[in-house]
Each structure stands twice: as structure tokens, then as C-alpha cells.
């Protein structure tokens, strides 16, 4: 299982960590719905902490897609919300 910390890199995580993250993910969704930014930031920080502590960083030459993409906590609530919709905070790829 691969998790990406946005702007930081990809990490290999085990199943136990994945389910912990999933539980936090549900709480993150609830925080977004409740527009509770401090709660969301705290949850995201927890997720980052877990992944950095227990995940194993992917080598630079390994190409993998992530199962989870975790945004940083310094995004605003609105930015985070955009990340999760088709509106997308993620920039489009070059069309040229």
C-alpha cells in the first residue's frame, strides 16, 4: 500500500497503518462537512506524523501510484475541499 504526503513524497505503509489512516480519513471528511478547519488540520497532522514515523519512503526511481494522497495541514479548508472534488486543486497536465 502506498501513501503520498503531498509535496513531501511517497511512503509504503502496512495494512495496520492503512486502517488507522482510514479511520482518520472518515473523521477528516466529517471535519470538512462541519467546516471545522482546526479539527481538520489536527487530523491531517496526525496522518502525516503516522506516515512519516511508520511508513517507508519509496526510492526515487520507483514508479507507483498512491492509494492514499494526504494533503498538508496548511491548506485552507476551501483548498482541501477542492482537492477532493473534480474542480481540483491539482493543476492540469500540460496540453501542449
Amino acid at each position: 500500500m502506498i501513501a503520498r504526503l503531498m509535496g513531501e513524497g511517497q511512503f509504503r505503509i502496512d495494512e495496520a497503518l492503512r486502517s488507522e489512516l482510514n479511520a482518520l480519513d472518515d473523521r477528516a471528511a466529517a471535519a470538512i462537512d462541519a467546516e471545522d478547519e482546526p479539527a481538520l488540520d489536527e487530523i491531517l497532522d496526525d496522518m502525516w506524523g503516522l506516515v512519516q514515523e511508520r511508513g517507508e519512503r519509496l526510492p526515487d526511481d520507483e514508479i507507483a501510484t498512491s492509494d492514499l494522497i494526504i494533503p498538508p495541514s496548511d491548506l485552507t479548508l476551501e483548498e482541501t475541499r477542492k482537492l477532493f472534488t473534480d474542480e481540483g486543486l491539482v493543476p492540469d497536465l500540460p496540453s501542449r
Binding site: 503520498r4 511517497q10 489512516l21 526515487d60 514508479i63 494526504i70 491539482v90 497536465l93
Partner: protein
């Protein structure tokens, strides 16, 4: 599906839409590699932009720092001229500006960290694209068209994800730089428009004028004294003869 997986799906969808423009797996491989190289160029340009913007911001900060030094000098001049009121004004401006500067300084440092991560991201992206290049030759040689399509899709999505991530980081660093520039600019503008009643904006400022007057006054006094003593050291003033 959790929120966090959804983000990945969005990136995948974007990248797949791009790949579907190619007509067959062989073509997809090369097309995808070509797109990756293009994107890498964009990323490099983006990182360079951030570095340039940060340097500009540092120059702006230095200019504000010079203003602080100037205000300090002016405060001393004012004290020397016995104008405590002016000295106080200059010191008040100085203290306000110092606070702004400290804040800007902290933010420039944060930007520095972001920039270092960006450069690291760019390197990872470069290495992965290189790795894709060799993988695609293996895929071409070893897999059937259908299998190749799947494998290319996976690898390309992985790269696309890295690219999107780096792109977002660049965007954020740029936004941050722009915000800071706007702030530094606002401080400068306040100074120019005189809202801060700035005394550092060259000889048009009030403090400068007053100090110039004092200094001019002192010069006149000194000159006058010199002339007096010269004249006084000669013989008695002559009577003006008709």
C-alpha cells in the same frame, strides 16, 4: 471511498484522459514519455520562477532594512540638533517597520524550506521519468498490446501523480511569494503615500526637511561665525569713503 483515495482518482482521470489521445499502446508509450519530458520542463521553469521571486523578495526586504538604518541615523541627527520630538517620531517609525521586517523574514525562511522541497521533488520526478524511459523499452519488447496498455497506464499514472504533486507545490510556493510581495509592496506604498508619514522617502519627507533646515541653519551659523572672525581679525572696519 475515503476522501484521500478520491484525490488519487482525480489525478488518474486527468492523466488517463491525456493518454487516451494516443491511438495504440506503442504510441502511448512514446507519447506519454514525451509529455513527461514537457511537464518536467514546466516544473523546472516553475521552480526557477519561485527562486527568482524569492530573490526579489529578499531585495525588497533589504531595502526596508536600509530604511530602518536611515531612520536610526535621522533619530541621532534629530537628537544632536536638540529636536527630541523629531527623534521620537523617527524611532516610532523605525520600530513599526522593524516588526514588519521580522515577519517578512520569518516568511522568507519558510519559503526557503518550501523551495528546498521543490528542488527535491524535481529531482525525484527526473529520476522517475528516466526510470520510465527504460521501463517502456522493456514493456515494448516483452508484453502483448493489451498488457502493455495496462502497464503503461500504471506507470504513467504514477509519474502523473508525482508531476501533479510537484505542480501543486510550485503553485503554492508562487502564491505565497506573491502574497509576501504584496505585503512588502503595501508597506512601501504606505511609505510613499505618506500614510506612515514616512521620513525615509528621500528629501521630500518632513523629517528630512526639518533636519535639512536645522543643518542648513547650522551651516549658516558656522559660516557667519567664520566670516565674523575673519573680518574681526583684520584692522578696524574702515570707514566707507565717499
Amino acid at each position: 471511498m475515503g476522501l484521500l483515495s478520491r484525490t488519487g482518482e482525480i489525478i488518474k482521470a486527468k492523466w488517463n484522459a491525456l493518454l487516451n489521445r494516443a491511438e495504440n499502446p506503442q504510441e502511448t508509450l512514446d507519447y506519454s514519455y514525451e509529455k513527461q519530458l514537457e511537464s518536467l520542463q514546466n516544473v523546472k521553469r516553475g521552480v526557477a520562477d519561485v527562486v527568482t521571486a524569492k530573490k526579489r523578495l529578499q531585495i525588497q526586504t533589504q531595502q526596508l532594512e536600509q530604511n530602518v538604518v536611515k531612520l536610526d541615523t535621522q533619530a541621532r541627527q534629530a537628537v544632536a540638533a536638540g529636536r527630541e520630538d523629531l527623534a521620537r517620531q523617527a524611532l516610532e517609525r523605525k520600530s513599526g517597520m522593524q516588526q514588519q521586517l521580522q515577519d517578512l523574514d520569518t516568511q522568507v525562511k519558510q519559503l526557503e524550506d518550501q523551495q528546498q522541497k521543490l528542488v527535491a521533488n524535481e529531482k525525484t520526478l527526473e529520476t522517475r521519468i528516466e526510470s520510465f524511459r527504460s521501463q517502456k523499452e522493456v514493456i515494448k519488447a516483452q508484453y502483448s498490446a493489451a498488457e502493455a496498455q495496462v502497464r503503461i497506464g500504471e506507470a504513467a499514472t504514477g509519474i502523473g501523480e508525482q508531476m501533479a504533486d510537484t505542480g501543486l507545490a510550485i503553485q503554492r510556493a508562487k502564491d505565497k511569494t506573491e502574497q509576501m510581495q504584496a505585503r512588502a509592496g503595501a508597506v512601501e506604498e504606505l511609505i510613499e503615500s505618506g500614510t506612515l508619514e514616512d521620513f525615509t522617502a528621500g528629501d521630500q519627507s518632513q523629517l528630512d526637511r526639518e533636519l535639512a533646515q536645522i543643518s542648513a541653519g547650522q551651516q549658516v551659523d558656522a559660516e557667519l561665525a567664520r566670516i565674523k572672525s575673519e573680518v574681526g581679525s583684520g584692522s578696524q572696519p574702515k570707514e566707507i569713503e565717499q
